[in-house]
Symmetry: C3
Subunit: 290 residues, 3 copies
Amino acid sequence: MTYLNEHYPNYGPSSWPNPYQPTYTPSYPLSPWYQDEDSSYRAKEQPLTFVLVHGAWADTSFWAGIASELSKKGHTVYVPEFPGHGADPNKNVTHAMMSKSIADFIISHNLHNVVLVAHSFGGTLIQKVAELVPDRLKRLVFLNAFVLKDGGMAADEFPPQATEQFKQLVASSKNNTLMLPFELFRETFTNLGTLEQAKRIYSKVSPEPAGPLFEKLDLKKFYSLPIPKSYIHITEDNVIPFGDPNYGWHPHMSSRLGIFRFLQVHGDHMTTPQYEPKLIAAKIYEASRD
Amino acid sequence: MTYLNEHYPNYGPSSWPNPYQPTYTPSYPLSPWYQDEDSSYRAKEQPLTFVLVHGAWADTSFWAGIASELSKKGHTVYVPEFPGHGADPNKNVTHAMMSKSIADFIISHNLHNVVLVAHSFGGTLIQKVAELVPDRLKRLVFLNAFVLKDGGMAADEFPPQATEQFKQLVASSKNNTLMLPFELFRETFTNLGTLEQAKRIYSKVSPEPAGPLFEKLDLKKFYSLPIPKSYIHITEDNVIPFGDPNYGWHPHMSSRLGIFRFLQVHGDHMTTPQYEPKLIAAKIYEASRD
Amino acid sequence: MTYLNEHYPNYGPSSWPNPYQPTYTPSYPLSPWYQDEDSSYRAKEQPLTFVLVHGAWADTSFWAGIASELSKKGHTVYVPEFPGHGADPNKNVTHAMMSKSIADFIISHNLHNVVLVAHSFGGTLIQKVAELVPDRLKRLVFLNAFVLKDGGMAADEFPPQATEQFKQLVASSKNNTLMLPFELFRETFTNLGTLEQAKRIYSKVSPEPAGPLFEKLDLKKFYSLPIPKSYIHITEDNVIPFGDPNYGWHPHMSSRLGIFRFLQVHGDHMTTPQYEPKLIAAKIYEASRD
């Protein structure tokens, strides 16, 4: 019986407690003392240390299923929350505050040889985390995550019409946050899910701090780092509108990584990672092993 | 025992009777009185009303397998034939005649909350049907179907070389129709099928009225309608030649829909819908549910 | 019991003997006298004659698993080695020497109605073989294989940065060969494999003669030949960097074939063909049957 199973017998995204803690202690203490009875099964995978970084309109619960699957295979998994998200009431945050909090988390827990995995907007965070703690990282894994060019910002990666819509939504928020209407979210973030799944995921969405989406990032150091990189392309992800070759997860953003390990898997942006965690966890492992 | 099974024990595309009737009565009377013994199974899907619109070089038998699978799940399914197709000997038809006949079918059967599904050239028809009966439609679903721009025509969506070949074939027809040579059809419409499957599908192909393929459509109203839309991309469909980003089902034509629900499935243009109907019917349901 | 099973009970890429012979006798004598006990099973596939042409950084062992699977289904399979590869110590070869040796192999074994299959660089070879022995070929099948334009060279199909890296590696070789560093090979040729699989495949890699990669080919005759063609796209192949629409297996190179039969399958460039041979052999058959 694993730690996870003991404490979360009704495991699932909705029963997953919010692991956010202001001091950024490890969210998933599935640490070196973690033991699985079926060690022969575990032995099949090279044990890795994962730090999973969620994206916008999400909190650490996004990773709950995937973290559980990875830990079942014997991996050590951390899911840090970062400022402006989870239980943090302060939405007035900067990109640097968020990336620094993740780097601090890695340092304070004395993690080394980390596989740093990002989903969606989290990609922009791990680009900066890599600049802050390069020597502690074994590999970066992007799961339909943003890879910004030097000087770019997340908002650049949406076509002008979508960015314009975002700006209007931000203007209507009064606190510089961006909330997505359910109709849009259902069709583009959860397009493969049932209505029930889409609603359950949407019920956990908080308004996203808008500032960091419009911050230009200096990424010169990132593009000089020799850290190995992987990109997992989820093929039915409809968050970035299709149709213009100058936009999109893959190959538009993935190709900025230069030499990288490429993987592909069916799914949409939000439903598949949360409702088919075994599938995505397996891909993350394939993307991460030596 | 369902209506379908009683009447078509040897169900299959080749044994399927031609449901074309000049008065456009419902082809598949699997209507509200339809009952399935396994109601608990049916309960899993939200019951929907589908109207399925076939494409060029096809008749209602194209949908036979998919209609059967959808009706097994408790949905109400109609497959109207339209002028110039099926048993209609008159090939001298216009695009407006075809789209009006489908709108008339929906009105005369007093259908509401319709999921209007199109394959291939049928996409151009449901764009116009949506303009004619917008209040009766719940959603439009395009299955590797044309989405024309305002003022566009179907022939525009093929590269110049292909269009030129089409024009030569039309010129050689003497009655302004377009018939595809088997060799071309086998390699591009039925590329995943066996030779036997390709021949069986081809045996049902009639020369297509050429006029509507070259008609420019005013679609201003279509692009102002707020009807939800889905696009199902069949990934090995080779009907529109690959290689030029200005052509193709997805993302070139799909992206014209703006915000839409995206799904993807393996298959080719003609064989997979007819020989893997359960697979495609499941995708159509996923594309159509709330 | 088949010939293969008798002689290679521990069949696998590593136990596969090098079938290279300077006189180019058939590597796989699974010829007309080949008999399988389960003839009813075999009867399901139309018996075909395959000649399989490997690519760069490979030898005939690349095809071992696929050749075995095809022969189990009753097909006749030949895997010729060509100059500069396998046991040939002479790396000072030309493109014409390689393509001529394959054409000579087909002639000397009196093969007709051949399905000529190529992987990777082998695509450039079968383009020229088709010019040499067009009347002996039933179909050309490209499995993530180069399709060069008239006057093109293989090196053109890589973005300038990659070509530059290749040139530096050639310059450092002292004998005009090109050897890939393991790190690059692992991430881009074997991205889906385990480290063990990647190492096992890499252990068989010899430096590739660089001359033919930079030879411009006159392909006017190729583009006038009416031989049917198929392209099998392996979707996670990362050998040609993604991101520029002017590069890539599909649709960039595949579309040069004009009308062709298109198929798609998951996999990477080197691991999947060697470790999932049943999957790839099935696709090759689908690409090749009438």
